[in-house]
């Protein structure tokens, strides 16, 4: 059989094939992958760029998350439904005093099941070597249901620890900073004696001034106050009570204080530090900058790759391929690069976060953030491919004949 007849048979066999399975074209993914790995150095540079961008964004957002978490951590973990605070308190750490009678006024309001006093105040901690540190004293009733230290090692009782006349509880993270080496160590706060009776684990502070938990009575004593100073009233609602309704009643009864849900107070605290200090804006800007750097790197690499392949793309157009086929190749290149780069980057962030877990302000990197950053990175890469797509749009199939 002649060569020509064989070709004819092969081609016609295809065209007359009755069992052809018509499906969506799938070769674009292979072309996209081969285009990427064809130039290994360029591909490696692309991946490093994407991974670098992912790491920057991951660390920055992790820091932001830690920032948000620590600015409201005592509110989030206090276990209160409502907070009564002095009018205009911008953040939980910047408390101003309220009258101790507010507790009893709150208790008298319908819908309030429990109302407990809470004192938060800055104090001066003096280390054995004479160095002073600013700490945040938190005073609660030893038998309180709300506002207690968040975690305490097994075998330790809050009630027992806080009942000792001069007992204080600090977090292990700050023990070295405060010069504390073990339990029952005597320390000085505001030139008054205190004794470390317990350690918590993982209660971080945004201001880097460690939280020092103690009884309300001892807190007042350490602050040199003989009055019934408090800064907040923590409220637990009676079962089935609507928070908004109880807030209205409390506000009507005490118009000169602010009453907020825990969620509102936490959000206010976060917003305050995020927006009034440069830190939050700076972190957000850094994240956006990292994203932008990633977009530029990916766009540049994809564009170079597209320019290299323009003759082949023009051939596809000449053969009758629709534009979307070429768009698909470029977008799939972007998605493949984005997926691999972001997985590498997210893995690196996870390792860095793990290594920095004992720092006082480690970035937080929950699974949802990792998935979100991965998705944003892939979207970023697809966005970066638009430059290449605009080039493909203007491809002239005639050019392949020149």
């Amino acid at each position: 059989m002649s060569l020509g007849k064989e070709i004819g048979l092969a081609a016609r066999q295809f065209s007359g094939h009755s069992g052809v399975a018509w499906t969506r074209p799938s070769l674009t993914l292979l072309i996209a992958w081969r285009n990427l790995v064809h130039d290994r150095v360029r591909f490696a540079v692309t991946l490093v760029g994407i991974a670098f961008s992912t790491i920057l964004v991951g660390i920055q957002l992790g820091m932001l998350l830690n920032f948000l978490h620590t600015t409201s951590t005592v509110v989030d973990h206090a276990g209160a439904d409502l907070w009564v605070a002095a009018h205009g308190v911008p953040s939980v750490d910047l408390a101003t005093p309220i009258d101790g009678r507010r507790r009893f006024q709150s208790l008298a309001v319908e819908g309030v099941a429990v109302a407990e006093p809470y004192l938060l105040h800055f104090g001066f901690w003096k280390r054995a070597d004479g160095i002073r540190q600013i700490v945040i004293l938190i005073g609660v009733e030893p038998g309180a249901e709300m506002g207690l230290p968040l975690t305490l090692p097994a075998g330790q009782s809050f009630r027992e620890a806080l009942s000792s006349p001069d007992g204080i509880i600090i977090d292990r993270l700050y023990a070295e900073k405060l010069g504390v080496t073990g339990l029952n160590q005597l320390v000085e706060i505001n030139d008054r004696r205190a004794r470390v009776v317990g350690f918590t684990d993982g209660i971080r502070t945004f201001t880097q001034s460690p939280y020092v938990f103690t009884s309300l009575r001892n807190a007042r004593s350490l602050l040199g106050r003989t009055d019934n100073l408090i800064t907040y009233v923590l409220i637990r609602l009676a079962p089935g009570q609507d928070p908004a309704t109880v807030i209205e009643r409390l506000s009507a009864r005490m118009p000169d204080v602010d009453v907020m849900t825990s969620r509102e107070f936490a959000a206010n605290s976060q917003k305050y530090w995020l927006l009034t200090t440069g830190a939050g804006i700076s972190i957000i800007c850094s994240s956006l900058l990292a994203l932008f750097v990633g977009v530029v790197i990916v766009a540049q690499t994809l564009y170079a790759s597209t320019m290299d392949r323009l003759p082949e793309y023009a051939v596809i157009r000449a053969m009758g391929g629709p534009r979307w086929y070429l768009y698909k190749i470029v977008i799939e290149q972007a998605v493949i690069g984005g997926l691999i780069g972001s997985v590498v980057g997210i893995g690196a962030v996870a390792v860095l976060v793990y290594l920095g877990r004992s720092m006082s302000s480690p970035p937080l990197f929950p699974a949802w953030l990792a998935v979100g950053i991965g998705a944003v990175t892939v979207l970023m890469c697809v966005g970066a491919s638009l430059v290449s797509i605009s080039k493909i749009t203007s491809i002239d199939p005639v050019k392949v004949f020149r």
Partner: protein, 242 residues
């Protein structure tokens, strides 16, 4: 009576590349028939490649009408013309323009992929086509691993993958040695004579003119001469003389 597959009537074309448009084709009338090998020849700048573009519906003429199977194609948009090319045309390019990152089989599969054929069936068909052009041993070779003649055959297999009614080839023998060139022309001649396809070739190569059924000689954008031969001789005989 034989009906034209493609008919160009009163076709003129100008390029606006500078301050004054350059006219490359003037009032051309051409018909292309199934089962014939038509050769467009002429010196550089004579307009033969532009005419190929227009006949292949890669380019719309400045004036004149191009019909495909008697239907005008003038009103079609870019994507509609692309769909038309996909359905009716197979192109063989001078520089082959194979995807360097794809194997011979995968390069042929691209055409089938555009047609929506499933990957598995496309692979089988691509391999059959490549075997039929004598590349059974080079199915998984990349273009860089193939000779010019082998690349040309991959390009031919790719052009034929969609079973086109019309095959357009631009200087198909330009980069080939004498023997490979004659083999390529033999393939194209077979496509026309045995499979009733319309084959249009643009060429500079005087060695292959004798194998065309008709030869249109262009000069300065106009048809200078039309030559018809009863039926071109087989390149296989010419190869015997090499």
């Amino acid at each position: 009576m034989k009906h034209a597959v493609i008919s160009a009537s009163g076709v003129s074309h100008s390029f606006d590349t500078g301050p004054t448009p350059v006219t490359v084709l003037r009032d051309i009338d051409v018909e292309v028939y199934a089962g014939e090998l038509l050769m467009l020849v002429g010196p550089s700048g004579s307009g033969k490649t532009t005419l190929l573009h227009i006949l292949g519906r890669l380019l719309s003429p400045s004036s004149g009408v191009v019909t495909l199977y008697g239907k005008s194609t003038q009103a079609l948009g870019e994507e509609e013309l692309a769909a038309l090319r996909l359905k009716y045309f197979g192109f063989i390019f001078q520089a082959y323009n194979l995807f360097p990152v794809l194997t011979a089989t995968e390069n042929v599969m691209v055409m089938l992929d555009l047609l929506g054929v499933s990957r598995q069936i496309a692979r089988e068909r691509a391999r059959e086509l490549l075997k039929s052009v004598g590349l059974g041993q080079r199915l998984d070779s990349f273009p860089s691993q193939l000779s010019s003649g082998q690349r040309q055959r991959v390009a031919i297999a790719r052009a034929l993958a969609g079973d086109p009614k019309i095959v357009m080839a631009d200087e198909p023998t330009a980069a080939l040695d004498a023997e490979s060139g004659l083999r390529a022309i033999e393939l194209l001649q077979m496509l026309a004579h045995q499979q009733e396809r319309a084959v249009v070739i643009v060429t500079h190569d005087p060695r292959i003119l004798q194998f065309g059924d008709r030869v249109i000689h262009l000069e300065d954008g106009q048809i200078a001469e039309r030559l018809a031969t009863p039926r071109g001789p087989s390149p296989l005989h010419a190869m015997g003389a090499l």
